[in-house]
């Protein structure tokens, strides 16, 4: 089993594990952020470049450092590898540049966007980004498209992580949307405004790291930090029925999958649970979710026994 050292922490991992997953096994601060990699999906990753790390020692046999920064989500570890993430100034500088690149065409309409408060790009930019942009040209814009009755696609916000394409490709039967055009013109789309009509299509909302794919049943209804996320389950023959209901008083405003600390859902839930089960009677509430203290969703949120919840998501 190869031994890898990340930011001074050594761990033994299985053959073929990527650097990112090895870092996640150590856990804590040294885990590189990821915008496109999604552990529940195959062949995801390698697109956004936010998980770049510096390999200062290639392996025990060949101790030369890798000449460039590598994407940790798609680089397998080798025995004796030494990796710098938080400790490497080169990585932090590069990540700042990556954030600036990701934000080139991003409209920064967070006050309007429904994803604000739980947005990966927002968190990433807050932690690693510079406060200004050097981009002077006009940002590209798109018209909003309705994909089916419940999902809205706002391509202007998209960072082309391909997570939604992989999701629909892998967990639903027939794929109807993908990336059209190339390079700067690439856009997510269903060719000639086809709607995605599949029982699991709503999961593209959960996997989207930005606000490009949003829930139309929740559109502009509230802000995520005014709602109380509760773990809940229901009897569902299509999915596991384990979800999070976002409540305001006694009303369910929206339903999402249960996300772990890396923003990845545990189980993909079906569209019936997500869009059509806003009735409190259908759900069995288990209790409030654990929320990181520095998250904006944590405002006004109190936990009786946070330690139990930590174990649950950990």
């Amino acid at each position: 089993m190869p031994k890898v050292t990340i930011d001074g922490h050594t761990i033994e991992v299985a053959e073929g594990t990527t650097i990112l997953n090895a870092a996640r096994q150590i856990g804590g601060d040294l885990v590189p952020p990821a915008m496109c990699y999604y552990s529940k999906l195959d062949i995801s990753g390698g697109k956004c470049r936010t998980c770049l790390v510096e390999v200062t020692k290639g392996s025990e046999k060949d101790p030369r450092p890798m000449p460039k920064l590598v994407a940790s989500c798609s680089t397998p570890v080798m025995d004796g590898m030494e990796v710098g993430n938080k400790t490497s100034a080169k990585v932090m500088d590069a990540r700042k540049g990556v954030v600036e690149f990701l934000l080139i065409n991003h409209p920064l309409d967070c006050p309007i966007c429904d994803q604000a408060g739980e947005c990966d790009l927002q968190n990433l930019a807050f932690e690693h980004g510079a406060s200004g942009s050097r981009y002077e040209e006009e940002k590209r814009t798109f018209e909003k498209i309705d994909i089916g009755p419940n999902i809205q696609l706002h391509m202007t916000r998209c960072i082309l992580c391909y997570r939604c394409v992989n999701t629909v490709d892998q967990i639903t039967d027939d794929r109807v949307h993908g990336v059209l055009n190339r390079g700067d013109h690439s856009e997510i789309g269903t060719y000639i405004q086809n709607s995605i009509e599949n029982e699991f299509s709503g999961n593209v909302i959960d996997v989207c790291p930005v606000g490009a794919l949003t829930d139309k049943t929740f559109r502009f209804k509230s802000r995520v930090w005014f709602l109380n996320p509760m773990n809940a389950h229901c009897k569902c023959d299509k999915c596991s029925g384990e979800a999070v209901v976002w409540m305001f008083g006694d009303e369910i405003y929206r339903v999402t999958g249960r996300k772990d600390q890396y923003g990845e859902v545990k189980d993909f839930i079906c569209n019936t649970c997500r869009f059509d089960s806003k009735d409190l009677g259908k759900w069995t509430i288990e209790g409030p979710r654990h929320i990181e203290r520095d998250s904006v969703i944590g405002q006004g949120h109190y936990e009786l026994k946070p330690a139990d919840n930590v174990k649950e998501i950990g």
């Binding site: 967070c110 006050p111 559109r219 502009f220 802000r223 005014f226």
Partner: protein, 183 residues
Amino acid sequence: MKSLTNRSIEVSNKKMTLMERIYLPAVIGGLFITLKHLFMKGATIKYPEQTRPVSNVYRGKHVLKRDDKGAERCTACGLCAVACPAEAITMTSAERQKGEEGLYREEKYATVYEINMLRCIFCGLCESACPKEAIFLTTEILPANFEREDFIYGKDRLVEQIDKRIDVSKRQTMEVVTQKFND
């Protein structure tokens, strides 16, 4: 025992003199002080006819600004409500329809925007939190009222009137803005 702080005063029960016992000189002295105050300049002013000068950044009644074209700037993002320590602000948002571009600047707007002025502590955090420069506090002092309901200010009293613009440029001088960003 003597006190350690040396601040206590011993009570004396010494016998009063004759002049002190008839009290009259002390009473007349007191009346004279009252009379003297009649001819002094008063400490109060006759509000509301007279008002005191206030600072340019005085925190009084709120205003929801419109932009140069007269469209409402507020996009109902809820950051003022989350910043509000007194939980005074509530709002409901809606999507802008086609043809309403002149009314609302962004694609989302507030259909209901209420500030409970009885809860408000006029701290100005909503003004600092606003990413759209929509809400400002003005130098206007909030009027008194009879009913509790009348202190819940809706959009009818908060949004500035299109022909009666409220100047907030003095709240946005370089000094104020840099201080805001440094906070």
